[in-house]
Point group: C2
Chain length 145, copies 2
């Protein structure tokens, strides 16, 4: 999934989009590590921070992973003191996940670093390219369902 010019024109859009997403994420991974959190943990933490306290199942759905996967992610985040788990007062089976102050802080810093790298590259782009990216984002988010 590399050389887009060698891929015939049958479905190049989907193909290139897929490829671009893979390589974009791979190229950012290094920076992610600087925060001490992996991409999935950072992503989950981000949802907890921005989507407020929420149930584990909802978090799993938001992140498009199964419950056991999210259980483990949350356990690690909790061990690192970034997130707190409390029984849902309304439902004895459920757990409510909330960000701690430290979690909030670390996310912001991590986000700055991680996204800073991307941001740096984006800033180096001509305005037209930036606009193109901007315009495509809503579409991509919709595609990801």
């Amino acid at each position: 999934m590399k050389k887009s010019e060698s891929i015939p024109s049958s479905s190049p859009l989907a193909d290139r989009l897929h490829s671009a997403a893979i390589h974009l994420l791979r190229s950012i991974r290094r920076v992610d590590e600087a925060s001490g959190l992996s991409a999935p943990r950072l992503s989950a933490l981000s949802v907890v921070v921005f989507a407020g306290p929420l149930r584990l199942g909802d978090l799993a759905r938001a992140e498009q992973v199964r419950a056991p996967t999210m259980t483990r992610l949350v356990q690690e985040l909790e061990k690192s003191g970034l997130v707190r788990r409390a029984p849902d007062p309304a439902d004895g089976r459920a757990m409510r996940i909330a960000a701690t102050g430290r979690g909030r802080r670390l996310l912001m810093e991590g986000r700055k670093r991680r996204v800073g790298e991307l941001e740096k590259r984006i800033k180096a782009l001509p305005m037209a390219d930036r606009r193109a990216l901007q315009a495509a984002l809503d579409v991509m988010e919709a595609l990801a369902k």
Copy 2:
């Protein structure tokens, strides 16, 4: 990294792009599995198919992974009969990786399936959205370096 509307405007472009890439890939992963190959294997196979026979190191670089990772990926692809390894006649240390007929065939089918899902969603988009996506792709590929 979910609700873009709750993220302040400091660096929303990079942030949203990152998030969109993550979720896009996650949403495609299921389909990928239908081919029997994981995303990394499919991606590597694709490079071998389209970028012709090439050395393992070059393949690793193209896929932005380290040599040992690529060694393992190639071993699995070879075990599945999708790829052939042969000593490089020009360099006794190097291995040349080439796709087999089966590899080529499977890639095409897999690509159709995998990308077919994306394609389906893309086809459902208004023309303007498709154009926006198209325009952003070159930019994204450049960003991924």
